[in-house]
Amino acid sequence: MIDTLLSLAFLAQVLRIAVPYAFAALGGSITERSGIIDLAIEAKLLFGAFAAAAVGHGTGSAVAGIAAGMLAGMAVAALQVLCSVWLGANQVIVGIALNLLALGGTRFLLQLIFHEGANSPPAPSYGDAVLGNPLIWGAVLASLLIPLAVMRTRWGLRLRAAGDRPDALLAVGVAPGRARMHAALVGGLLSGAGGAQLSLVVGGFSADMSSGRGYIALTMVILSGWRPALAVVGCLVVALSEAIRIQLAGAWIPHELAPQLPFMLTLVVLMIAGGKGRQPPAALGK
């Protein structure tokens, strides 16, 4: 067993599983740091996965698929910003609505474009490749650069100000709404890339293939105290436990409960430490 867990193939598997979570958590961190509650990660993953598979199928190019997935994630973010920032709708409700919309919408598009109920026709697949999969490289790069960008650049300063002190941002002549929009759009691109990884690894889209990963990513964002680098570490732990579970097939925990482990862990942390220890951005949701 130790041999399996130390092998290169196992490491590659952990990375592959971690990519959608990591992208989603990075996208979620940025969006939330700018003051928008990002419940719509699930929708961005799902539309991203669908667009990547559909365009990948149509063009035969996985790279075109990735681009389409990222754009789809950004489109969802644009709708989110339109409703919750510019039209003043409740951010939580908009997030839930977008998730519902993604669940029905991707199935509708599947029916409309491919006349299929549950699965898209085959798209290019990266399969087990690690070095050949640009999404894995992209995730590693983003995990290093995004935290730096949030903490060390003007853009990052503005997005944090939009989330913590929108009034201060306004006082120096920057519209908080614009800063939030920029942050959310970049966040959408990232989450969309996570969705592309979902469908381009298996080479096709299937209905509800994000299966709650967006919520797990959001959980990691919260658990990390809205620190993107730490959120990615959390995602790696989630991916590691998922990979171990696949290798050991239900040896140590019933298979029905295993996917819920990250949630249980977070709930225990909240029970012991409470929600106040991890400060959310001061103006989150306002």
Binding site: L39, F108, G212
Partner: protein, 356 residues
Amino acid sequence: MNRHWEVLFDFARRPSSGTKREVQAALIALLLSLAFGSALMLVVGKSPATVWWAMLSRTATTPYVLGQVLYKATALVLTGLAVSVALDAGLFNIGGEAQLTAGVLACSVVGAALPASTPAIVALPICVLAAAAGGAAIGAAIGILRVTRQAHEVITSIMLNAIVAGMTLWIGNTVLFQGGTTRGPAIAPGAELSLLGLGGSPANAAVLLALAIVIVVWWLRARTTWGQAWLAVGRDVDAARSVGISVGRIQILVMTASGALAGLAATSFVLGHKHAFEEGLGRGMGFLGIAAALLGRAHPIGVGIASLVLAFLSTGGLAVSDLIPKELTEMLQGIVVLAIATAAPWVERNSEGAPA
């Protein structure tokens, strides 16, 4: 601008009372959703008028479809009220899925544990209470975490939705499911609710329970000090505290009651229709309850009407599945929520100066 449009915008902009604003918001959201739905029908190459008419006429003239609408609405009223009473107190209970599933589990396990000879007068109340208690337990957990550990109820709700689904499946697989099926042991016959007999549809007597609950919630809200306290907490936590309301206690109580309401929806599924635990029973109704509560503007009567509308949209979609793909009406659910989320603040902004 066309005169008709002016009338529409006048109607939307005119300063009005709170109730009128809520009705306006709901109607605008509904019209927006119908417009989106019509656009989607054009996309799939069908005339919206034909499809909507077929949906209406088939629902109205087929007892089976009418019964299906009623069956769905029964559960929706309860999960919708669950979200709505929490909203009243300023809490967002999106744990309806977990609470309903817990209700289904509790109701069916207790029902099956009763001796087969238990008379209805004993068996029914026990099973109904079990359903409520199952949901209440989850609601209470969310409320307690919120009040004592400052954990946001939306976050804990999401986690509990996933955890309860996993737990229930695990319990089903290990102890409940009978010989390779995903169905548990049957409940005592005395606990069964009778069908309404609408064309063989599963519409059952639980609809009366749902109606009674609508009235009870309305009465509590409008006529009791307890209801006033919970509305006060929702309006302004600090003001409520300053007049001596124990805010934390009210929040926990409301979340518990909210969970109980969502749990009660299990009665229609378990006691009225399936008569046993089944995997996935009632799934999706907890989430759709959010749409019912928002569209009903968190008013008990509004939630009742909204539940009927949403049940019609989703069941009517199945009735016209020869004309449009059923995914189209699935998509409409999300659009309804998005439309109401956007319409409500818009109406609010455009009627400034009106009394709140």
